[in-house]
Symmetry: D2
């Protein structure tokens, strides 16, 4: 079978097409004929050497993919031939609290990922995907979708009438907007791009705030909520915005700590407003299979469609990564086999 | 001012129009010129002597009402002249856990209620009501609305993609349907009346089940959920249906215990399925002001409209109660002053 | 290896010693040389045909056992040779919410249980047991211990200063008493036996109530809590006591529904007090591995010792069951190999 | 009556003894003859002008005090003459979620505080204090005690067998240690002073770590927990330690954000470990009356005694503040009238 693998070093230049034998599923394992993957900025981080500097080569990258069950090993009970399935981001986190093993089970690094014609995964690390989705749409769910679901629903417990602030228009942000709307919330989206704000409004955002035109966007959030503040802020930018996120929250509000875009250190995180307003800051690490399955029930029931920016063919995989790097996309970048 | 009060005994025959002086608000109290009330079966229970056999007469009945602030006492900070407000069902439960004092603070018994041209309440026992509602619609909220909100949202934590079963088409049931839909749930409504089921379908119910045509409705719920079971059942009938509600639930599901229609004792509550499936049964006692205010934000944001069956004038109050007694209504019975 | 198995029918008379080959662990499976088991009334129910009328014979009974890892299959990562381990009651519930598969994974029916010289289990269905415990003590944990932990801690969230009512002095009751004390609660134990109450007082119970001398024990609980009511009642008797348990609770209190002793149907479960006081009734189905591991940390840290009434040898297994049937034990009945 | 009040400016030099008339309680208000107060570093911050730069003078400082009910206004139902009571830190937060009004109700700024022979408070802003405590001990509870209770119990939900890290040996830290022990936790205390660590060990701390001898104390916490990490860290230092607190936590662990000692800005708060381990950071703002009452039940049941370092007389109030400023105390500094 054909795969893309990172050979002998980091960087997109080392990502080459190669040949491997089709793997054979052992007990409780499933062989999947891959149909589509979606790309995440984390995949670029893995390829660039940011996350696993001591990685053993070769590695098949990409965490998110969907395919069809082509063979089942002994004792497989959860799936049958022909089922359309997706891997879970961490193969080691089924439900409940995360444990340290969570990190060892990540697809696309440290484990081999989905950019291959076939993959073998344990049946416990798979879920069925909603039927109404295209392969590309279904491939968007494992990382961006589940992260947004954990933040907004499983940990955030956003409910009808709540006000949710979503920073930016990246993959997690768009899912967060969609899930917050499914749960009846008012959603304020922040972006620096007027063009993207316009596209977001078509997805149901209630208020659009340009942080270029309105750098004091926390005050705008307070104004839009009559001085009450937002119930929930999805902190997808990180370092540069955390203090404003706290200022935008209501007393007793919650902030989901997710993003990495503006850097990895908050230079001057002010603690006093966090105490006074009893803000909760909740780190979000994608999510578990139980969350994935609950999300799928919501997506299927509402026939929600993930936003796909552009699809590439398997042979165009490098081109797809280059396109992702440019950062001009709105929605997910996918590869359809 | 004119009031209706229960004089010297129980029963609708003892409910007579009388004259009382307009009350004067003390410190932190508010005088409300009443505009509308809604009737609940509990009001009939109070009038009939079911709830407070040792009641001191006279008593002004009716727990739910809305009016305009006509005067404020000293130190009132939460309201101003002209605000449109509603009393909370219990004047003694602001937020957090209920305490025994909850029962002492109920409007319409043991405290005087809202069936009067004016009422004085402490400012802590009042909330502003959503602007888009008519007076009659706003009067529907304190008891039926907040009960449904506590069951579905505050305690039930229903989320998008969940399946909720609502029994019947009474006041709490219709609000529960509406709130479950606001939060993105799939809703199955049970009723014995084909006519009411049809009207419910226009409110957004996803599945309608007649328990006359389908007495094994728990099996139908299992079928509609592909054998998974419902996430949440609103037990509004009580005695006759509790075992079926347990059977209709998924493993780990929740039942809100609310209703009284079929009697006050469950004759043969089977415990084994409740253990095995780890079902949670949650008693629901209307709710607190914090829940009322969160509900109002959701109602205002979604411009949700309570279902009013019919309105009567203040002078027709007895007629309104007789109409409620017949039980043919669909939605709330209101009195507009 | 020697096993006890139920052959060709139900009843203790059909439980006979037999010979089977020592099983070989497959991938991710572990061979355990059993050292001790504890007996539960559920084991008698399985043997008597109460739980699985359609059982396929032969079946090795007994859910709770502890042993030493004697061999590991391929890919086993969680355990090593020599580790002392216990199976989890359900082999299919690791963490999070229970699912229907929970029931399919129960040891001692429908799956073969622990009354054998060797057992093979998947590594995900095993936990290490606290070092300070004897084999017999460690064997008490999977069913009675975890049930009490879920009720008191994982779902009950009992905290210092809370008042907990424990019904009876059975295996779950004694663990519940011990765990409630570890978490700083005041514990009221009910029993019909003066002798057992005296023994319970040595385990740290704060108040002892004989329901023979004080049939209105709910009033006694109200008196002992100055009219506030208990925060938590462990309903271990069931049918006969549920209404009194509700009456003993505070407003907003919780009842864990666990026990089966007095029958499986509550004949006249009164709903009104459950609504008014917003009582939560939580069905408890033993628990998951995450709870078992958290419980073990507490037991190890506090060097808590389960109460063992009496131990029998493997050859005396039938005698052990006969002794359990008599119901005179105080603490667990164990078999040490 | 004699009071201490801040006159015409900030600073301990402006804190002078003055005479005011004894206040008269209005409806639902209570007159308290003060018996003791305890001092918090926040009181020094108020006096120094840090918290309320626009304060209107004169102001009676000090948030925490206990006294005897000397008179009750009309309609007072919760207290009687002679009851020993304490004010709640915020007079406006009874239960449930905090709201913006929380900040307006703080005793000792912006509202007049307790450093006076008499005080009048609304009955909703008072609690009875445990009988076994001296007046000085009871005066320690409103701020330091309730803060620790919210962090460890109400929000932290610490349970038996959990590992809790407490930073320092200040007022909140000592209560946190005591409450964590009441709830069965293992407690690791960090301090820079060997002398204070020794005194802490007598209060039941399980492990003592000097951050002078062991600057990499997060690694020591990991070692003491066999690499699992702490379940809960009480962040009482703030700016300088937050990254280490995250490193000391287990996956899924919680950090209570409380303290201000080392400054108000975290200079380089690293976000990646917070995401990866799904850490929750919870701001703690003292707490509400419901928490205060639950804490009192625990304190009364366990006859727990707050740690009082030293008591001063009313006339020595300035001396007491000077002593607090030195920072050499271990436990609370109190003034007994």
């Amino acid at each position: 079978m054909k795969v893309f693998e990172l050979q002998n070093g980091f960087g997109l230049d080392r990502l080459v097409m190669a040949e491997r034998p089709i793997p054979v599923p052992g007990p409780r394992e499933v062989l999947i004929k891959m149909r589509a993957v979606s790309l995440n900025s984390r995949d670029l981080g893995v390829i660039g050497g940011f996350y696993y500097p001591d990685m053993k080569f070769p590695l098949i990258p990409v965490s998110d993919g969907v395919g069809e069950v082509a063979a089942v090993g002994e004792q497989v009970a959860r799936f049958r031939m022909g089922d359309r399935v997706s891997g879970t981001f961490s193969q080691r986190w089924i439900s409940g609290e995360p444990t340290k093993e969570w990190l060892d089970g990540l697809l696309g690094g440290p484990l081999d990922g989905m950019l291959a014609e076939y993959a073998v995964l344990h049946e416990d690390g798979l879920v069925r995907v909603p039927e109404h989705l295209t392969d590309a749409e279904a491939a968007c769910l494992p990382c961006a979708g589940v992260t947004a679901w954990q933040a907004v629903v499983a940990e955030g417990r956003v409910k009808a009438g709540d006000t949710v602030v979503v920073q930016g228009t990246g993959g997690v942000a768009l899912f967060a907007l969609q899930f917050a709307k499914l749960n009846g919330a008012r959603v304020i989206v922040l972006s620096g791009s007027e063009d993207k704000l316009e596209r977001v409004s078509r997805l149901g955002a209630d208020h659009l705030v340009s942080y270029r035109a309105t750098p004091d966007w926390d005050e705008e959030v307070q104004r839009l909520t009559n001085g009450r503040g937002a119930d929930h802020v999805l902190e997808l930018v990180g370092a540069a915005t955390l203090n404003r996120s706290v200022a935008a929250c209501r007393f007793g509000g919650q902030i989901s700590l997710i993003g990495l875009l503006s850097g990895h250190e908050v230079e001057n995180f002010r603690l006093v407003p966090t105490f006074q307003k009893r803000i909760r800051l909740q780190g979000i690490n994608v999510g578990n299979r139980e969350m994935f399955e609950a999300m799928n029930r919501a997506i299927a029931f509402h026939r929600l469609r993930p936003v796909v920016d552009r699809t590439f063919s398997f042979e165009q995989s490098l081109e797809a990564f280059r396109y992702l790097e440019k950062g001009t996309h709105f929605g997910k970048v996918c590869i359809v086999f």
